[in-house]
Point group: C2
Chain length 347, copies 2
C-alpha cells in the first residue's frame, strides 16, 4: 500500500534523527548522573521499538505537502512529536497496568533491578520529563519564533485535550456513557493527536489559513474513524492478527462505541454476560466469542462500522479540498481507505 | 517580617487572578463534560489552599524589581507559575503516597466517590493537564512573542530539571548517595524552581543580561540553602511547629544532606538504628529523638546548617550586585535572612 511505503521510508529518516537525539541526551546525562543516563537509554529503547511512526510522519508529510521538501528543522520537530506520542503511552500503560508495549515491556516494567513500585513511581516523573523534552525539541527546531509559538500552542492544547479524554475514558469504566458522551471523549483522543500532528506540519509549512481549517476538520474525522476501528480490532481481531489477546478493553471495563451501542440495544441476559466478564477482569475465548455474538446480533458492530466509514468519507472529502500536493493528498486518502477496508476484516 | 508582608499582599492579588481563571475554566468545562468541570473544581480548591505563594511571588517581585510595576500580563504569568507549582505537588504526593497537603487531602485522595485506584489513576493525567495549563497561561499572557518564547523555555527546562531531581530523589531511597550526588540532585530541585520563577520575572521585566546571570546563580544558592533548611525542619521540628508529624522523610528512606553526612560519620550501631526505622516505615517519638541525637553527635546537623548558611550568604551577595530596585532586593535578602535565622531554631 502507498501509505505504508511512505511511512516506512520517512519513518526511517525520523528514527535516524531520534537515534542522534538520544545519543546526545544520554551522553550529556552521563556527566550529570549515571542513573539519569540509564533512564534516557530506557526512553530511547522504548521510543525506538518498531512502529509505524504515524504521528510524526503525519507532521512530516503535511509539511512536505506545502513545501515540497523535508529539512532538518522539520525532522527535529518530528523527534518532538515522537516523544510526545511516547509520553502519552508511558502514562497510559501505567494507568491501565499494561504489561507490554510494542513487543517490549511497558515503561514501568523496565526497572527490574528494583521493586515493582519503583518502576511505577519513576514512570510518573519520566512521562512528565518526556513531554517537556518533546516541547524542547520543537522550541529548539530552528523555525522562526512565531511559527514555534504556534506549534507549541498546538502541542500544549493537544496535551490538555488528550489528558481530558484519558480522564473521561477512566470515568467511563465506572459509568454508562451514551453515544454523545463517547463522541465528546473521542473528540479529544486520537482526533486530538491527528489534529496536533497534522496542523503543526501544515503551519510550519506555511499552509494557507483556509487549509488549516480544512485540515483541522479532516484530522478530527480521521481520529473518529480510526478510534472506532481501533476499538473494533481490540474486540474482534484474532490473537494472530492483533499480536496480543483480544478483549483487553472489555476486561478493563472500557466503553468503546460498539459497547455503548450494545448497552442501548442488548437484552438483560446479554448485558449480564458482559458485566460478568468486567467484574472478574479476565476473559475466556468462549466468553469473548459470546460477547462478539451479542455485538453482531444487536447490530452494534454494523452501526459502529458505518460511523467509522462516515467519518472516513468526510475526512477524504476535506483532504481533497486542500491545496496540498497530490502525493500527500494520496497518502492521507490511501491511509483513510485502509481504515475503511480493514473494518471489513472483522465480522 | 518584611518579606512575609509582601507575600501576603501580592499573594492576595495572585489569588484573585487564580479565582477568575478557574471560574472561566470550570464554566467552559461544564459545556464539555460535568466530570471535567468537577475535576477543575478540585484543581481550583487544591491550588487555592492557604499558602505563601512564594513561587509566583518570586516571579511577580523580580518583574517589579525591573519595571517598578505590576500589570495584568505578569499576573497571568503568575497564575501559570502557581499551576506549575501545583502540577509538581500533585505528582509528588502521589509518588510518595502522601495523604495530606496544606490542610487538605492530597489530590489523589479527593475522589472519594470512587475506589482508591481511581483517584490515583486520575491524578497521573490531572498532573499532566495542570502542567499544560500552566504553559498555556504563560503562552497567552500578552507579552511579546520573543519574551513568551524565553519564559516558556525557562519553564520547560525547569520541568525537565525538577523531574530529573525527583527521579534521583527516588533512587536515593534505594541507595547511599554521597554529598556530591546530593548536590547534583538538589541543583535541580528547589534550586530549579527558584531559577525558573525568578528568571521568568526578570526576563519579562527586561532585566539586563548581566543581571539574569547574577540571578541565575542567586536563585541556585537560595535553592540549596532552602532545601537544606526544609529537610532539617522535617527531622527536627516539633509537630506543633511543623503542622505534621516530623520524620516523614526518614520513614520514606529519603536522603537529605544531614542524613548523608550522618552516614559518613556514624558508628555501626547508630546506623542500625536508622536502618531499622526505614525498614518498618513508621517512627516513634523515642526513635526520632534517638536519630536526632546521632545527627547532633556526628555534627551532621552543624555541618548541614553551615552549608545552608554559606549558600544563603552567596545568594545575598549576588542579589546585592543586581540592578533591581531596593524594595525587591530587600525582599529577597530578608527572605534569605529568614532561612538562616530559622536554622537556629532547630537544635
Amino acid at each position: 500500500m502507498e501509505w505504508e511505503k511512505l511511512l516506512d521510508h520517512y519513518g526511517l529518516l525520523i528514527e535516524g534523527k531520534l537515534e542522534s537525539y538520544f545519543s546526545n541526551l544520554t551522553q550529556n546525562a552521563k556527566d550529570y548522573h549515571p542513573f539519569i543516563s540509564e533512564l534516557y537509554d530506557n526512553i530511547r529503547e522504548y521510543s525506538l521499538r518498531k512502529g509505524k511512526r504515524l504521528a510524526s510522519c503525519s507532521t512530516l508529510l503535511s509539511y512536505k505537502g506545502y513545501t515540497g521538501k523535508i529539512d532538518e528543522n522539520i525532522l527535529d520537530v518530528c523527534v518532538g512529536i515522537e516523544l510526545y506520542r511516547h509520553c502519552i503511552l508511558v502514562h497510559d500503560d501505567l494507568v491501565d497496568k499494561d504489561k507490554f508495549r510494542r513487543g517490549g515491556k511497558s515503561f514501568h516494567n523496565l526497572f527490574t533491578d528494583y521493586d515493582r513500585r519503583f518502576g511505577e513511581r519513576i514512570t510518573i516523573f519520566a512521562g512528565d520529563l518526556i513531554f517537556a523534552l518533546a516541547l524542547q525539541c520543537i522550541s529548539r527546531s530552528g523555525f522562526s519564533i512565531d511559527k514555534i509559538d504556534k506549534a507549541l500552542s498546538l502541542l500544549i492544547e493537544g496535551y490538555c485535550e488528550v489528558n481530558e479524554s484519558q480522564i473521561l475514558d477512566l470515568l467511563f469504566e465506572y459509568a454508562h456513557p451514551n453515544a454523545a458522551e463517547w463522541s465528546k471523549m473521542a473528540y479529544k483522543r486520537a482526533a486530538s493527536l491527528f489534529r496536533a500532528t497534522i496542523l503543526i506540519g501544515a503551519i510550519l509549512g506555511n499552509a494557507p489559513e483556509r487549509d488549516v481549517e480544512l485540515l483541522r476538520d479532516a484530522a478530527t474525522n480521521i481520529g473518529y474513524s480510526f478510534d472506532i476501528q481501533d476499538d473494533i480490532i481490540d474486540t474482534f481481531a484474532t490473537k494472530e492478527q492483533y499480536g496480543k489477546k483480544p478483549g483487553g478493553d472489555l476486561v478493563l471495563g472500557k466503553k468503546p462505541l460498539h459497547i455503548i451501542l450494545l448497552h442501548e440495544r442488548a437484552s438483560k441476559d446479554e448485558l449480564k454476560l458482559l458485566n460478568n466478564v468486567m467484574r472478574k477482569r479476565y476473559i475466556t475465548n468462549t466468553e469473548i466469542e459470546s460477547i462478539r455474538q451479542v455485538i453482531r446480533r444487536t447490530e452494534a458492530l454494523k452501526s459502529a462500522k458505518e460511523e467509522s466509514k462516515r467519518f472516513a468519507e468526510f475526512a477524504k472529502n476535506l483532504i481533497s479540498k486542500t491545496s496540498m500536493s497530490d502525493e500527500i493528498k494520496d497518502f492521507f486518502s490511501s491511509f483513510i481507505n485502509y481504515i475503511e477496508e480493514s473494518l471489513d476484516w472483522y465480522k
